[in-house]
């Protein structure tokens, strides 16, 4: 059924449809609507789940970890400082191989306090072993959340669904909300590979000496390596059931493109418009959307380009002392390719600054006009900066 849903509520609907059993959460703007709705569903019996109103994000993930260890399908949501506060436990949930699903609404880190969108919060968690899936619109949010439980429970790794603050979290769009029966066919009840059990006592998360630790880490990496394949298989089933799929990366008008805009999140929607307009004017523009950030889909990306193309990476995030994070990852996977396209790096839209069609067209023009990329990333739409500080 098509409903007009806020991006946050697309997450809530998916969590309801996934028959999540334990939800633990702490309020933080702009994630709050997700868990408010879920708490209503738990209160009025629309969901048979326990809702824990914990006293911090650290405890939200701490409780989620334990609930998953207890064998329950588990969900939480957060943003920004909340995610940063969870950091220790993100590592823990991966090490414990728990299929927790979390919605993360991208919001800038303070200070200065800023509640608007910026991907640096989630990208700072890239080494925690969480699968990260970035979404473009409300429909993708709902579909990805439902699929995330299948993926997490298949590979025994936690999954983060990432959506932009406000541009997506607070925007109402038509979203096709599937019937419960069809979701049940796609997503069977959680059957944990291991769980706390008094009939079969075991010691979980205990001391592991150097002689064994490395093998356990290797196991996690093997699980990560299986993710692109598992994701494609799950998307195939999802497509069969619901008629939609997204892919770890999406290339649009890339084959003959001279400049390919590499984007993620809601900038993708704006970029589709810009690339379409440019094509209408005879420009050879293309678009690559990166949905899966962890694991970084190296094979799909290497096969997507030819060496004569220029890539214009638009990063709504920044790693101080280095550059845009998607650009760094992209360069790393392209480096080993025998011939590789040139990578132009742009920083735009930090802290919720609008990335308009004009912004993206400026990036396209700058890339088209230069032969070689600069060493540093180019900051777009920047006001005067006091260089004395």
């Amino acid at each position: 059924m098509i409903r007009i849903l806020e991006g946050n509520h697309a997450v809530s609907e998916a969590v309801r449809l996934a028959r999540v059993q334990v939800i633990s959460a702490y309020p933080i703007t702009p994630q709050t609507h997700i868990v408010e709705t879920l708490s209503e569903y738990c209160a009025d019996g629309k969901m048979n789940a326990r809702f824990l109103c914990v006293e911090s994000e650290h405890s939200a993930m701490g409780a989620a970890i334990a609930a998953a260890m207890g064998g329950a399908r588990t969900f939480t949501a957060t943003s920004s400082h909340g995610l940063a506060y969870m950091h220790e436990l993100l590592h823990w949930s991966t090490g414990a191989r728990l299929p927790i699903v979390m919605a993360e609404v991208n919001r800038a880190m303070g200070p200065g306090w800023n509640i608007w969108t910026d991907q640096t919060d989630s990208l700072s968690q890239r080494d925690t072993g969480w699968i990260q899936l970035y979404c473009e619109d409300g429909q993708e949010v709902l579909d990805t959340t439902v699929s995330a439980f299948r993926l997490a429970e298949t590979v025994n790794l936690p999954v983060m669904i990432v959506l932009d603050a406000f541009y997506l979290s607070h925007t109402f769009e038509p979203v096709d909300v599937p019937e419960q029966g069809s979701v049940d066919r796609f997503l069977p009840p959680f059957s944990p590979r291991f769980a706390m059990d008094t009939e079969n006592p075991a010691n979980f998360g205990e001391l592991v000496p150097p002689g064994l630790y490395m093998e356990m880490r290797r196991n996690i990496q093997l699980a990560m390596e299986s993710v692109p394949g598992c994701f494609s298989a799950i998307e195939e089933e999802f497509f069969f059931q619901f008629g939609r799929r997204y892919g770890p990366v999406e290339c649009w008008m890339c084959d003959d493109a001279e400049v390919i805009m590499v984007v993620s999140g809601t900038i993708t929607g704006t970029c589709r418009q810009v690339v379409g307009d440019l094509r209408g004017r005879g420009e050879k523009a293309g678009l690559m959307k990166i949905k899966m950030f962890r694991p970084f889909p190296a094979r799909e990306i290497r096969n997507a380009f030819n060496p004569n193309q220029k890539l214009a990476v638009v990063d709504r995030n920044f790693s101080f002392g280095a550059g845009g994070i998607f650009a760094q990852e992209l360069k790393a996977v392209l480096y080993q390719a025998p011939d590789r396209p040139r990578v132009f790096e742009y920083i735009a839209g930090l802290g919720g600054r609008d990335v308009t069609p004009k912004t993206l067209e400026t990036i396209y023009r700058m890339t088209k006009e230069q032969d070689t990329p600069k060493m540093e990333s180019v900051w777009i739409d920047l006001n005067v900066v006091d260089e004395g500080i």
Binding site: V22, S59, N203, E206
Partner: protein, 299 residues
């Protein structure tokens, strides 16, 4: 070995667990699990017990154990309880088992949150009065007068130990109690009671001596905690609903023998011991006032 009435024979610790000789924390777990039985799940934040429970692929306990991050015992016990409840298992007892660092310091927030929410589990703090697993650094449970690795030499700790039972009683939890490894029947009775009480977190504070950190011979581990009770330094009592106090016994010994038998206090002068005696006397008087002199003696 002589059978003691009220102390079940069955043991839920495997021989070969990794505790030091004379470890009070191991003795405490032994009695707690004797009381709670096999339908128990243990939540263990970082602590000495994180080691004692054994290294992969072994286990030191005959019940399931879930290790958790240092700060999360209260949250993790809440999450595990939620999972069991939603799966229809209301029979299994969840036991959060943390040291004083994981309870008084880094874990205090998640414990307070769980207590306020009225979560259904038992939280036991085995208190050895410092970060013993990392090499005897002070915690907010470290008593006045103790030398630790971070309160060394003449900088021995001059602030009082946090009163954790009062802090928990202030949450109006249904049951809070102190227990000592020197009084196993009393401890077992309290865990059995904690298992049967519903309507919130049940908190048990156990003084668990640490021979290495307290600098005592391992064979004195039990004796020293008995002296703590007999001198009213660590009184045995229970608090129902955060309001109704019951003192289990009254001691009549001075604190001096308790202090003098431990290397961790060896630098203290007689005047400083007198100061500790005054603190103990005033704390005891306050506790008696709260209990309205209602006493039950233990055998």
């Amino acid at each position: 070995m002589k059978h003691r009435e009220g102390v079940p024979d069955i043991d839920y610790l495997y021989p070969g667990h990794l505790a030091c000789p004379g470890c009070g924390a191991a003795i405490a777990m032994k009695f707690a699990l004797k009381a709670l039985g096999p339908k128990t799940m243990v939540v263990l934040p970082a602590s000495c017990w994180g080691i004692i429970a054994g290294a992969y692929p072994q286990t030191g306990l005959k019940v399931p154990v879930m290790h958790t991050a240092f700060a999360t015992a209260g949250a993790a016990a809440s999450g595990l309880r939620a999972a069991l409840d939603i799966k229809g298992d209301t029979e299994t007892t969840v036991l959060a088992w943390a040291g004083d660092g994981g309870t008084f310091d880094i874990g205090f927030q998640s414990l307070s949150g769980a207590a306020e929410r009225g979560e259904d589990f038992i939280y036991a703090c085995y208190d050895n009065e410092a970060y013993m697993n990392t090499g005897v650094q002070r915690s907010s449970s470290t008593p006045y007068g103790m030398r630790t690795a971070t309160t060394p030499g003449t900088s021995w700790k001059r602030t009082r130990k946090k009163n954790i039972v009062e802090a928990l009683a202030a949450h109006r939890i249904p049951y809070a109690a102190t227990a000592s490894i020197a009084y196993p029947e009393d401890m077992i009775r309290k865990f059995v009671r904690a298992r049967s009480v519903k309507g919130g977190v049940r908190f048990i504070h156990i003084l668990a001596s640490c021979p290495a950190g307290w600098r005592i011979p391992s064979e004195s581990a039990v004796k020293v905690t008995r002296l703590a009770v007999l001198s009213n330094l660590f009184p045995l009592y229970e608090v129902k609903d955060g309001l109704h106090y019951t003192l289990n016994m009254e001691g009549n010994r001075p604190v001096r023998p308790y202090i003098r038998m431990q290397g961790r206090f060896s630098h203290l002068t007689e005047e400083e011991i007198e100061r500790i005696q005054e603190m103990v006397d005033s704390d005891w008087a306050l506790l008696k006032e709260k209990a309205n002199c209602k006493q039950i003696s233990i055998k």
